[in-house]
Symmetry: C2
Subunit: 136 residues, 2 copies
Amino acid sequence: MEKLITIGEAAQRTGLSAKMIRHYEASGLLKCSKRSEAGYRLYDSQQLQLLGVIKQARKLGFPIAQIQSLLDLLQNPDRTSREVKSIAQHHLNEIEHKINELQQMRETLKQLSDNCSGDENANCPILDGLCQNSLK
Amino acid sequence: MEKLITIGEAAQRTGLSAKMIRHYEASGLLKCSKRSEAGYRLYDSQQLQLLGVIKQARKLGFPIAQIQSLLDLLQNPDRTSREVKSIAQHHLNEIEHKINELQQMRETLKQLSDNCSGDENANCPILDGLCQNSLK
DNA sequence: GTGAAGCTTCCCTTGATGGTAAGGTCAACT
DNA sequence: AGTTGACCTTACCATCAAGGGAAGCTTCAC
């Protein structure tokens, strides 16, 4: 007889919020196995495990759609690690792309900021930089 | 007599979309100076300039609220470069924070991915990593 | 048996952007 | 003069992950 827990306890154990657990369910990630007579969501230990996976995957920035795929693979004994790695690689590329964009911003912004005295003077290289119009 | 242009031309000249120019107006960033008899937005060259500033600032990732402040300072002769630099620094901190988060994700993900053979085998260190539950 | 805490669903907000729809306007070509 | 096509208007909906809050039901402890 499996011990079943409510959404609040599942939230505590996983570090997710009850709100988000419901949200993930609405997004199709993970239904609770059972409802109590009163309609309360009840989770068994395997589902708690899966909620933990969702938590970890979100921590790594995987979008919900990809977590969906990861959960499917996790529960599919016929999976190949190739499929899993492919998803991870794709996400890794996204992350690196975002890092590049942000680093680009940082460098430009840092240059402008470094040239700005930051004193009482109205003259400001940062504003000058923003005004340099690339108007067509 | 100032030459006035429509939103479509302003969009072309700035590289913004007409959609976003309207959105920025609705957000309180920049009203057009005039409307034609038919209700078309009309922009003068100074406003085109300001739209260019918005474009550049968005390119650097400034959120709308901060662009609002920057536009205010730009048009305020009593500004100090200290005020401008403060906004820029704040945004720079945000950017660096995001970069750090992403780099953290990248490293964790890369480690998992590097340990994964990516072949026909069902055994997968990436899934294992996601399953390592920090359940309380 | 009452009150507090926990659960339910439903709707709204964020932030920047895009899509689409329904309708008015303008200019150019026929 | 009329039609066509490009451009403009507003208004609503969607995205993505997360949270806020309301209104109402349930459970538990005292």
